[in-house]
């Protein structure tokens, strides 16, 4: 069972602001999802390596070669706020 406190904690970590109703709803829904996941624990996985990636490929790598493609102006178009060539963000820390 996922408690309301756990939902609040996860919401805080994910920077989500939830209403009391949403917290109730998500604690129920998340509990159901976890119950479903628990069914998987019934399968005997002894001797089976955990899989971290469903794609049956390894070692996709590139050579260390520079390819510069983007002008700063172009990049900063995606910034909600910019100044002096920097991204501008709310003040952080001291």
């Amino acid at each position: 069972m996922i408690t309301k406190e756990q939902v609040e904690h996860v919401a805080k970590l994910a920077r989500l602001s939830l209403t009391g109703e949403e917290i109730d709803l998500y604690s129920k829904q998340l509990s159901k999802i976890l119950d479903y996941i628990d069914q998987l624990n019934e399968v005997n996985t002894k001797g089976v390596e955990p899989m971290t990636q469903p794609i049956p490929t390894v070692n996709v790598m590139r050579e260390d070669l520079v390819k510069k493609q983007f002008a700063r102006d172009e990049i900063l178009k995606n910034a909600p706020h910019e100044e002096y060539g920097f991204f501008r963000v709310p003040k952080i820390g001291e």
Binding site: H9, K12, L13, R15, T52, Q53, I55, T57, V58, N59, V60, M61, R62, E63, D64, L65, V66, K67, K68, Q69, F70, R72, I75, L76, N78, H81, E83, Y84, G85, F86, F87, R88, V89, P90, K91, I92, G93, E94
Partner: protein, 484 residues
């Protein structure tokens, strides 16, 4: 500065986490150049900015450097590993997660031999660096309610090298960090500049009563930007924790910031709360499988490392430990020295020349041995000219060395052009020696009475008369003859 001793009743336990920026041309997951002097946000792309829909692709060189470092530090290299996402919100991290390695680091269980003691290396993993924040407080932004971010550094490849808490003194921590830096530089994987942040040390410090085998609560100190700061930060933290423990208090596990000006550590706790990174495997990258062949190939590229040279040099070259320390600090210098020796130079003499006048010149001209114009052959030749008595030490230092270093002219040419060859003709020197002895009867009397100090005065006077070109050996021999 002097190192203070830990209070007798407590033993300090230290572990170091070192972040080393790798000297690759491009970032770890995209083709953007790694270039530290660049204008803000000029080396960024949708991948390192974490735009929706982009895919990271791993830089092969990063993996090769990680393996190289792991091998040099006696680590096991994992056969199979993956990357993970470490989630946290901070504006220097545009994706809101950092791609790192959590439970499958590429290297583990190594060690570093620091002055004969093995300091364990728990793990080495690959990850991406974050961007740089320009905080309010710089004049332009004083009083502002926002920060500015430069993402050029975002995605720069890092190795995080984590030691075990095996370090037991401030000196040992410093020696460990210095040796690690030296090794990273020998391997040519990181330039090891603490001031500029290409190598960053986080220090875990805890105290425990002497004799106890249980670890005390540690604090982690960040913002240590030099070896001097490393020493000062640990000193300050030992003092702080000692006071807490002596007054019956408890040390809290937290992250603290070393403040250069006050020399104190201050709590960063407010920022670090909710240490819950919710790691999970990075779905955008496929796993790595590292073959034995690749490891062997990389093994071949590892040079002899400084701690091995430290053991070998006294045996092979008969040098003392101070000289060795200077010679092996920089790989280029050490390899230059060895090249000069291979050309037949006397090991002690070659060391003296490199440590003394050559290093002085390089420092004065803000360069290094590899960027000077003097080849090992030219230094070896110069030493031969001195050994054969064609020129003396002082002439070589004052008139010849600088020219070889700056222009790459051969010593032979300089000697001929400037007419610097030593006067070794006894007939030619006899007159000069006689004159000097005759002109200084007082000193001559002293010399005859056995005051050998005065001999230097006479040799000096003869040198003056001969523009420094007299052979000191022959002058001494002639003085002896006159005294008979």
């Amino acid at each position: 500065m002097t190192l203070t001793q830990t209070k007798t009743e407590y033993e300090v336990v230290i572990g170091l986490e070192v972040h080393a920026q790798l000297k690759t041309k491009t970032k770890i997951f995209c083709n953007c150049p790694v270039d530290f002097g660049a204008e803000p946000n000029t080396n960024v792309c949708p991948v390192c900015l974490g735009m929706p829909g982009v895919l990271p692709v791993l830089n092969k060189q990063v993996v090769a450097y990680a393996i190289k470092t792991g091998l040099a530090l006696g680590c096991e290299i994992v056969k199979h590993c993956k990357f993970d996402r470490k989630q946290y919100f901070y504006p220097d991290l545009p994706k809101n997660y950092q791609i790192s390695q959590y439970d499958q680091p590429i290297c583990s269980n190594g060690f570093l031999d620091v002055n004969g003691k093995k300091i364990g290396i728990q793990r080495i993993h690959m990850e991406e660096d974050a961007g740089k924040l320009v905080h309010a407080g710089s004049d332009r932004l004083h009083g502002s309610d926002y920060s500015l971010v430069d993402y050029n550094r975002t995605g720069t490849p890092l190795l995080e090298i984590v030691s075990l808490p095996d370090i037991r003194s401030i000196e040992e921590a410093r020696d460990y960090a210095q040796l690690l830096r030296s090794i990273l530089r020998y391997l040519d994987v990181c330039d090891g500049n603490l001031e500029e942040g290409s190598m960053r040390c986080d220090v875990n410090v805890s105290l425990r009563p002497v004799g106890s085998s249980i670890l005390g609560t540690r604090s982690e100190i960040k913002n240590v930007n030099s070896f001097k700061s490393l020493v000062r930060a640990i000193e300050a933290e030992i003092e702080r924790q000692t006071e807490i423990l002596n007054s019956g208090g408890k040390v809290i596990q937290e992250t603290r910031l070393f403040e250069e000006n006050s020399g104190k550590t201050v709590s960063m706790r407010s920022k670090e709360e909710a240490h819950d990174y919710r790691y999970f495997p990075e779905p955008d990258l496929v796993p790595l499988e590292i073959s034995k062949e690749w490891i062997n190939e990389i093994k071949e590229t590892i040079p002899e490392l400084p701690h091995n040279k430290k053991i070998r040099y006294p045996k092979d070259y008969g040098l003392n430990s101070d000289d060795i320390k200077v010679l092996i600090e920089d790989r280029n210098m050490a390899e230059y020295y060895e090249a000069v020796i291979r050309l037949g130079a006397n090991p002690k003499k070659a060391a003296n020349w490199l440590i003394g006048p050559v290093t002085a010149y390089l420092k004065e001209h803000k360069t290094d041995i590899i960027n000077s114009c003097m080849t090992p052959v030219q230094l070896a030749d110069l030493l031969v000219f001195i050994e054969k008595g064609i020129i003396n030490d002082n002439i070589a230092k004052a008139e010849i060395l600088g020219e070889i270093l700056s222009n790459g002219t051969n010593a032979k040419e300089i000697i001929e052009q400037k007419g610097l060859a030593q006067i070794t003709d006894e007939g030619a020197l006899k007159q000069a020696v006689k004159e000097v002895l005759d002109q200084n009867p007082e000193q001559l009397k002293q010399l005859k009475e056995g005051k050998e100090k005065v001999r230097g005065f006479f040799v000096g006077q003869v040198m003056k008369k001969t523009d420094g070109k007299a052979s000191p050996n022959i002058v001494n021999k002639l003085i002896d003859e006159f005294l008979k």
